[in-house]
Symmetry: D2
Subunit: 277 residues, 4 copies
């Protein structure tokens, strides 16, 4: 007996849940948890169905495809670790947090490799015996740099790329290779303080709360679908540096909670938003 998650997305119509769950029933699958959402504006239907039983993926998906309307997307996802490649620059906190959570069993990732545009974090990768590829951006064009990264990542066949404080902007071309599969942590409570040095901006504005945003990366910088946001309070005692330090905690927390949601097959992309079922 196995457990899998069926994610379905299609234009809404009457009887959809009945059709899908009838097929599951016909396949002798038990529904452990079912959550559904219809967007009232777009009329798009989203459903997450956790199934238990003996799976014949091919016939199940065949039956579903015959029943669902044109333009539907469905995926049948196994439980268990997602395969990722992590991209980093020089800051250790997000990578370290992920590595430790994988180590202590609280985050089901299979970290296939780490790619850094600086060499600093290779020592951290080594502690956990994970391949580290140092691909410097110095003296190469952005296009060439991205091609090197893509070529390095490809053999690992990751489910997702995780940008754990990777401080390079990715081109639309790069992003297209991993559409809705690149997860970034942005060091602000988007859309506040877009761009560089958000903590300095937050300090100058005298805010009482700072935050971080985990989101899928799309072609528009800082505009991809938000998966998770977290915040914490600050006060006048915080210098810009203190805010950045406090922010690192929030960044770690938001990124790892987003990754947890992705691991649990709970995140569907919906235009430039997410539906978290």
């Amino acid at each position: 007996m196995e457990r899998k998650t069926l994610l379905t997305e299609c234009p809404d119509s009457k009887g959809l849940i009945a059709q899908i769950t009838n097929i599951c029933y016909k396949h002798q699958l038990n529904i452990v948890r079912n959550t559904e959402y219809v967007d009232p504006v777009t009329g798009q239907f989203y459903m997450r169905t956790v199934l238990e039983g003996v799976f014949n993926d091919t016939t199940l998906l065949f039956d579903l495809d015959r029943a669902l309307p044109t333009g539907s997307r469905r995926s049948l996802l196994s439980e268990g670790a997602k395969r990722v490649v992590v991209l980093v620059t020089r800051e250790a906190h997000c990578l370290g947090d992920i590595l430790m959570k994988v180590f202590d069993g609280s985050l089901a990732l299979d970290i296939a490799a780490i790619v850094g545009n600086y060499a600093e974090l290779s020592a951290l990768a080594d502690k956990f015996a994970i391949p580290y590829h140092h691909i410097s951006h110095h003296g190469v064009s952005r296009t060439d740099h991205e091609q090197q990264i893509l070529a390095t990542i490809a053999p690992y066949q990751p489910d997702y790329l995780v940008l754990a404080k990777f401080m390079r902007i990715l081109s639309a071309d790069f992003v297209a290779h991993y559409r809705n599969r690149i997860i970034n942590i942005h060091h602000s409570f988007l859309p506040a303080f877009i761009g560089a040095n958000p903590y300095q901006q937050a300090f100058e504005r005298g805010v009482k709360i700072i935050g971080a945003t985990a989101h899928f990366v799309n072609e528009q910088l800082d505009e991809g679908p938000i998966i998770e946001q977290m915040v914490r309070t600050v006060d006048h005692n915080f210098s810009a540096a203190d805010m950045a330090k406090a922010g690192r905690d929030v960044e770690k927390a938001a990124l790892s909670r987003a990754l947890q949601l992705v691991v649990e097959n709970r995140v569907l992309v919906h235009g430039n938003k997410t539906v978290v079922l």
Copy 2:
């Protein structure tokens, strides 16, 4: 076209969602939102289905009853205000908060009447033109006092009783009249600081967080199913009185959020717990 919520509870079995949603489909009802939960320990199935369409309640419920296993409970609930009677003692904050939220349209309650064992809060009831019944407990037995309250409440036929800082313990007999329909706000983060004067207890223990618990009342004092809990931070600067004051804010917030969940037909009782779908 109307919108209603179907709440279903029964022992789990394969095909349940398909059966229920098939019936909805047969009745030409559109499923706006569907959330389901199966308790892995007890194997009990819970589902909340928000339906839209033209309802024939009788035939819909008849079809459901025929399809569902023995021991099922289902209810088809309209949208809109719940009818309540609020019981109070002398503290104004929870009652005032509810009255104001009903007044400004943010909480869909129809407050039929207020019952107080003191007269103090009748002035507040008057401001909002709600009948206030002062039923003193002085010089009467608990049984007689409760009988007077029950007799006063009965004609209003409330969906729920709300204990908004009603400081009298209700007998099992009283509770039986409104099984899982009495909502209390308890002035602590249950199960911490059970009993009287929880803020004094919290102060003496030097806690850094205080809380409040909204729960259904059952026969066991402080033991009914928890609907909502909220907390806030405190520090060494808080005296016991300051904690009580801060606690009043949390009490209001937890009670009104619990009431909001009840208004949205999202709370199912599950033994001594709740399932909030």
Copy 3:
């Protein structure tokens, strides 16, 4: 025996705390609580000293003024209710929340009057027997409208103006009459979603957290010193209207917490920021 709060602000120099507290000691005043902050960037010194004893305000302030460097500001504030005039438009929730908190004793304000540019909320003011001035902005110039408001407010001699969802932008000239004494609640987590319809913006961006900002009003719209910010989580189920509704709760909470800080004489303005001691 009385309790008063001394707020001091001046350029930092060695021995300042000693000088100030020596003077308090000389005046036989007991220091109940003392909190101090020096801005490391500007070198400005801020101190809040809660004093207990028998006060001779004139000689105490005289001694302080002699001791403190040029450019110092200090105020000796009594405990107890602040006198305010509340400005509103048509939304009841913030005004209602303040009225109820004053009523139940949890917020020490003396609400001298309410000014509305619409008539709607006069019924709410009446419930609490507070004078309501309807000063419509229709058919009058902004300057004339503001002059009418100023003339109406002046006799009440308020300590603060509270903009409880007052949806008119105030001119620099108006603001100058109540410098750092106008408290506004902004319906977004500033600086995100500046301007009109922030909840629609938040909805379209698909954020997972919304917030509100209580701030002093200065000449720059949405740019005044932030006193308090609060947030709450939302998810894909929230329509723009749901977000606005959830936002109203946060607006109330942030505004009333900011007012509480002001009542406790804890807020000092520091350029376009606040220091909350």
Copy 4:
């Protein structure tokens, strides 16, 4: 120029702040930040003074001791890393979190050694090149076990012991060696769910919030002064195991925030409470 923190505790009397800050001024020390608290119940005075300048510790403390009343305690603490020994059993998450925060520079601890009553976590210690002492409790009396641990720890001369999920109860005798210097993370929101298996208890009670408590250890199990408490929401979907997993996140967060407060010299013990200045 150096920065040090002076912590002072003594019975309150008029002029104390003036006396202390006069001495600082006389020593040409600048006060960067000063926070003071007087317990209104016990009349005990607590002050934290961050000083900057050239220190002559001996004369400064001599002057203070002469000025302060009998029964005073004061300490002059350097900035910078605290020296700790961490005690663990088999769970990696708290130890891992601390190690990673020290590694990435966000927590200023000097982890001198790790002591475990099981061998499991030695591999984790090795990654960070920290001595790991496996001192099994099997086949030895509690007294002997504790003596072995004490003997092992002593040469490291730690400022604090950190119990990072050390699942053994320490005797009063052990605790006496490190009075108010042993920091424990308790896996519940104390005083709720005291004792073993709090997550099972929380699950059975159907709570909507779980928490963790970081506290100093005293002779009474689960009764020492609370430094920090943190919580997170849970719901009916959480099994006892899910709660335990969610709880591990809160445990890490509460412990590391408590350690951060200790590192910043902000925590004073006050009977069975803490004052965090």
